[in-house]
């Protein structure tokens, strides 16, 4: 049953050094507040899983939290590179980061398989791609009925998954609405899970088939108002496309980045997305 904790306590309890962590949210509902808390608590050697690393992992990587990143598309959407990710991969700053890369289809299926308790996902993928030559976690199996060759990847089963959502009720049941990405899968696939929410309400007011994650399938819930900024929360606030564009200049340079981190994450506990937002 979900416990209501402060974000500090939830991260302190469930995010251990060397853990495998998935922070999900497909463009929408990216758990920035939680990511900043992980940075503040100076977690180290994390294996970070995420389909689209986005600015949140750029920040975690630049802050030295990551040992390895498992991903399928690592860019600043519509803007360009993730400079901290590139600096780590290309030049080893602040230290070398290992990467393991997949396609979106592979990772989406791997999250699905993780939620489904399976050791692997099977799909029709990677045909003609050279990704299998650089990722030994991509294998191929044969369909016993048709003989067709299908791709297989290990399921995603993180030690802890962290997502942001619109709201929870007082029993800890959580409503996710809009672009739901692989958030439900991330939660169900993980040993532990933290959900940050905009607010706690008496009644979720959910549609009969809404994406609701029961409280008993979640470890901890923490309120983090505007916890997804500069990404967005459908029904609450919009995406700060401006900040995404500004991030390019901030992250391009090690000093500017470090200064931003100091001012906005280490000192700016209450302002998750930074002064620039």
């Amino acid at each position: 049953m979900a416990e209501f904790l402060s974000l500090h306590d939830a991260v302190a309890r469930y995010v251990q050094d060397s853990a495998t962590v998935a922070m999900e949210g497909f463009t929408h509902l990216i758990p920035f507040a939680a990511g900043h808390e992980v940075i503040r608590q100076q977690k180290r050697d994390l294996t970070l899983i995420r389909m689209t690393p986005d600015i949140i992992y750029d920040q975690l990587i630049g802050a030295g939290c990551a040992k390895k990143v498992i991903f399928s598309w690592g860019g600043n959407p519509g803007v360009g590179s993730l400079h901290r990710l590139r600096d780590a991969v290309e030049k080893g700053w602040p230290h070398k980061v290992e990467i393991l890369e997949h396609s979106h289809a592979a990772m989406a299926c791997a999250f699905e398989a993780g939620a489904a308790g399976l050791p692997m996902a099977v799909f029709r993928g990677y045909i003609g791609s050279e990704l299998p030559s650089v990722n030994d976690q991509i294998k191929f199996i044969e369909c016993p009925f048709t003989g067709e060759r299908l791709a297989a990847v290990p399921s995603v089963r993180p030690d802890v998954s962290i997502v942001h959502a619109q709201r929870a009720d007082r029993q800890g049941n959580v409503l996710v609405e809009g672009i739901v990405g692989v958030q439900k899968e991330a939660i169900l696939a993980a040993k532990h899970s933290i959900v940050t929410v905009e607010e706690i309400v008496d009644d979720l007011k959910a549609h009969p088939n809404a994406c609701v994650i029961p409280g008993w399938a979640i470890s901890a819930i923490a309120v983090a108002e505007k916890g997804a900024l500069p990404s967005y929360t459908h029904g609450y606030y919009g995406r700060s496309n401006r900040f995404y564009k500004e991030w390019d200049a901030i992250a391009r340079d090690r000093d500017t980045f470090t200064q931003w981190l100091d001012e906005n994450v280490f000192k700016g506990v209450q302002n998750h997305a930074g002064e620039n937002v």
């Binding site: 463009t27 598309w73 299926c109």
Partner: protein, 257 residues
Amino acid sequence: MSLEYTSSEMMTVTAARALENGTTCFVGIGLPSEAANLARLTHAPDVVLIYESGTLQTKPDILPLSIGDGELCESALTTVAVPEMFRYWLQGGKVNVGFLGTAQIDRFANLNTTLIGDYKAPKVRLPGGGGAPEIATNAGEVFITLKHSKRAFVKDVDFVTTLGFGRDGKGRDNVPNIGKGPTRVITDLCVMKPDPDTKELVVVSLHPGVNREDVMEATGWEIRFADQLESTPEPSEKELEILRELKARTERAHTGE
């Protein structure tokens, strides 16, 4: 006609025209998204646009900056989870056209969005595959649009992130349950199509004011031209007007916070 337009506009309009009304299109972000929405706002009001964020049959009023902007969800018929998007809608064979951009493309229309240089010690690390590897093989056919340059159009890509026709042009031969692959590449200079036999990209149409030398200079291999080389029709006034309005609306929305 003596309309003024840029080569980028020419590219977008030509890419848009490639999409027939009623087509179901899995849309990549950036140039493909611009072209696909222009198509929807002009000759193809019933084109169905699908984005990998799970937004099905979406009709954004402004162009999304990211693949999952709120606008895409709000204007969609419905929004499904990302695993469902890739499993039921793409892999399930519901997509007629996958519309992709790329960083590098080679003569067999293989796409590289992974890295420049060597994998272990990359010169430039690019974003990676994203949806493209399976869009390119599971969609009925693939359109590609990008700006023409020697850096982008290389004889052999540094890395095949996404299959065109393979390093020898035979990458789709005898593969079951695979789409036709790239059927056209639209740039700011020309339109290319794969040779029916060798699958090597061939210029089939030059944009107005562009000559063969322009294309040859911007292409990293000895590019061939079709015997019946056509001239790409110019954009219409209406297309340009709608495209410019769309881009202006988008610019206002993305900077206005």
